[in-house]
Amino acid sequence: MSRRLASGGRLIDRARPLKFTFNDQHMSGFAGDTLASAMLGRGQVLAGRSFKYHRPRGVVASGAEEPNALVGLGKGERFEPNQRTTTTELFDGLSATSQNHWPSLEFDLLAANNLVPQFLTAGFYYKTFLRPRAFWKHVYEPIIRRSAGLGRAPDAESRDPDRYELVYGFADVLVIGGGVAGLQAALAAGRAGARVMLWEQTAHWGGRAPVDGVEIDGQPADSWIKSAVEALEGMENVSLRLRCMGAGVHDHGYVLGNERVADHLPGASGPRQRLWRVRADRVITATGAIERPLSFAGNDLPGVMLASAVRDYVVNWAVSPGRTVVVTNNDDAYRTAIALKEAGEDVPVIADARDEATGALPQKARDLGIRIMTGTGVQKVKGGKTVTGVALCRIDSDGSTHTEVLDCDAVAMSGGWSPVVHLWSHCGGKLIWDDAQAFFRPDPDRPPLGHDGAGFVACAGAASGALGAGDGLADAHAAGAAAARDTGATGDAGHPARAEAPEEAPLRQVWIMPARAGYALRMKMWLDFQNDVKVSDVQLAAREGYHSVEHTKRYTTLGMATDQGKLSNINGLAVLSDALDQPIPATGTTTFRPPYTPITLGAISGEAKGDLFQPLRRTPMHDWHAANGVHWEPVGQWRRPFAYLRAGEDVHQSVNREVLNARSNIGLLDASTLGKILVSGPDAGRFLDMLYTNMMSTLRPGKCRYGLMCNENGFLMDDGVVARLDEQSFLVHTTSGGADHIHGWMEDWLQCEWWDWKVHTVNLTEQFAQIAVVGPKARALLERLGGMDLSREALPFMGWAEGTLGGVRARVFRISFSGELSFEVAVPAAQGRAFWDMLLHQGRDLGVMPYGTEALHILRAEKGFIMIGDETDGTVIPQDLNLNWAISKKKDDFLGKRGMERVAMTDPDRWKLVGLETLDGSVLPHGALAVVEGVNANGQAQTEGRVTSSYYSATLGRGIAMALVRRGPDRMGEVLRFAGAHDARIEARIVDPVLHDKDGEKLHG
């Protein structure tokens, strides 16, 4: 039975006991424990239930590759599902809950799935839930959701209270993995003088060398590791980080790392995690290797563990699983039997699939009195919720008879090792199959390539396939020295350390056990523990024609769980290769994708949440709006006032008040967000003639002209008023949202097409505050400020003048987007707020009142003015909006002219702009479609138009709308039917879109 040994444990501090809870049961462990070692140490082997069959599951591994022992950590707003107990450092007060069981971990009703395992075979969803169709939503999906899946997602309404940060880093050489190979590579590169970063995903340096009893430079691994770390810490050009997982290697040496700064220190100040974004000239992955499970019947029972993990628990944490049978196809697993025996534990037998076991490690095991059975494998594991025994059989048999049955608490299995090639493969590094060692390893001749075409990733130690510590250190030293040299370091890299480890005999490739096992056994052999995929599932997929490993993966879900198949992939593709009767390299691997282990979304978003989610652009009058009842509307990164609410009003009432006041007194609009681009130079006029559909070069200084910009398709893109400042310069006004885009558009044409034209553009949008002073009393207010003659004669409609108003330098544009007498006044941004305050103060008795963007929309819609983004959607040409008058016929060329000449653009059936008047006076829904009899090829109602703008007009006391309607302008007076909510039909008459001041008397006032 699993328990804590009386002595030993190189990582635990028995003087510091820690308390924690698992499913609300109080338990305790020691400082230095992982949650897994603490649970095993007090006999808690059962950790959770499996994904589909709800089979009992316990810890298999001791590190990041753990597929089974996932728990929910923390409570309330700090709850986090699917955390591996094997990588969770224990702290006082930790609270964990098991997952995926109903009603309880010990007694799970859904384990009934297990009684009919044929029910959930490969492709089960595709086969089972096709019919009847209606059952999917109401029957199948709710049941599957209850029974399948892992942890619960955190409550959608809770907010993670912890801080996360993004950090940028740069390195000549980034070494990922702090085992002895990573330390050796960092030493070589650091000594040579390169700027080195070294990351280790666990809390300890040195990896598994100390557990495996390796001697380095004549001393125990632990003491070499200590001095290596001290040497690295003494180098100014080297930085070291524990608990930092190399998550992904991306293009051109961009590497992501996830540092768990304070996961183990709840309540500590500072960030909980850090996401590193590092640019490295060279990356060395010293990520080690992962042991493979063996596929025998019942290999998923709690108590069946990787041999290396058993060894880790004994040596690192003084935790023994109890009486343990070792099953192996290689020499390395003998270390586990030896470690157990030396710790005083019982190892009844080592079952070795090979015909002989004569190496140094088997000999040592024999000398300790351990019985070794060669040519032997596991027929099946016995037990319910944990292992109670194991039946052995001849490895080459069909498993129908056993040779022996032994009682035991645990099975330690080893199917050989696979280098961790994930980081090498993320960015295109290729693999080769090493048949002697039975694994894929990086092909050093085909590395991921950087921006200069040179390989930028190298592997070191076990990650490159050099499994033994001796070879691994030499390999790592060479990798570190070469990487440093590549980055221009010229120092002496020194010599590699020498490691002493016993020679190991070759393994025997064993993919299922026994070799000729029948179906009854194969359907109990687990490949993917987390997703419940078995040998029989992969074989079924192969029989059903899934020959590509990528297809088989998706069909069976092999390797698709949160562990990304770290334990299952190689075994799975070996089984697939066997079923397809082809060599393993012909099957190949699935694609390795980042991140290496899951990263919490909090770390990815970092500080970019809440107020820091994106930058906020503020106009000079922003604070006044905020203090005066503003209801904001986001416009790009700006916040614009939608309306200003007064006490007792709702938004609708505010908007109506603002509209009526602008029509009868004076409205003020903060128009500072309007794009303002200065276009100057000898060719400025010629350039604007190409950009706008109408002629701009003929505009006289002192005058304004409205213009349309189209893209090369002829589709309307932006509009606005251009003011000619002098012979060589124009001030181009763009829409608020379009300023940056249009400036970029101008630069694109100037730099890439007409680069010999002498034109200079500057985006002045934020240099000026702009205020529209709108309404019949607008002139009276501005004249009160004094300083400029703004009479109808001095400044007629579509003119502009420069001067001083109320002591502030100002440009006054006599333009109108409301249909009223209107002046747009631009003043330096720094004086915007003062000027705004002055207008409010001076105009109090004239009824001055700010209005927001909704009133702006209604005022322009009453006047029939279009709005980019409402009447246009990227497929509308100016002709659709009856703007032919703004398209020059004199110009040979302008952007969009050729596009407008296409047949589809001149089709008389195009939908064109009209006004609408509902028969009942109601407001049409935005975007409502005009429906006609009949259906189209998809069985949908036929349509002949759509509403582009729709408002309640306080001026007219009814709903008004603009719409694009097939042949609309030819159909004045016709009544159309528009689709409303719940199949309602709303009747509306086609009318002239200009509903207010048709003769323009007010406009020109």
Binding site: H250, D251, H252, G253, Y254, R279, G428, L449, G450, H451, D452, G453, E712, N713, G744, E747, D748, Q751, C752, E753, W755, D892, D893, K897, R898, G899, E901, R902
Partner: protein, 107 residues
Amino acid sequence: MLLLTCPHCGVTAEETEFAPGGEAHLKRFGPGSDDDAFEAYMFNRKNPMGVHFERWRHAYGCGKWFIAARCTVTLEVFGTYPAQTTEPPAGIVETIKAKRPEWEGYK
């Protein structure tokens, strides 16, 4: 994420500092061009497996447009040059030919 060097200001920076602008060296067809030529200009884009020329703007830097010659398979960047040209400069073509002898050349 690519590393690119702006040929105008000399800065080597992350891809996020630049804005992509699609295939380079397009010839504009305006009024008077036939439908096929206009269609090709508007819509038909190369999508090669290998050497490609693409427009980039140093949007969060000097603001200038340039062209990058790049391998779409290995992501190797052969070089960058200012956009004020109708075809790749000879030096870039030489570099690419040396590294990709099988390359059929520009156009």
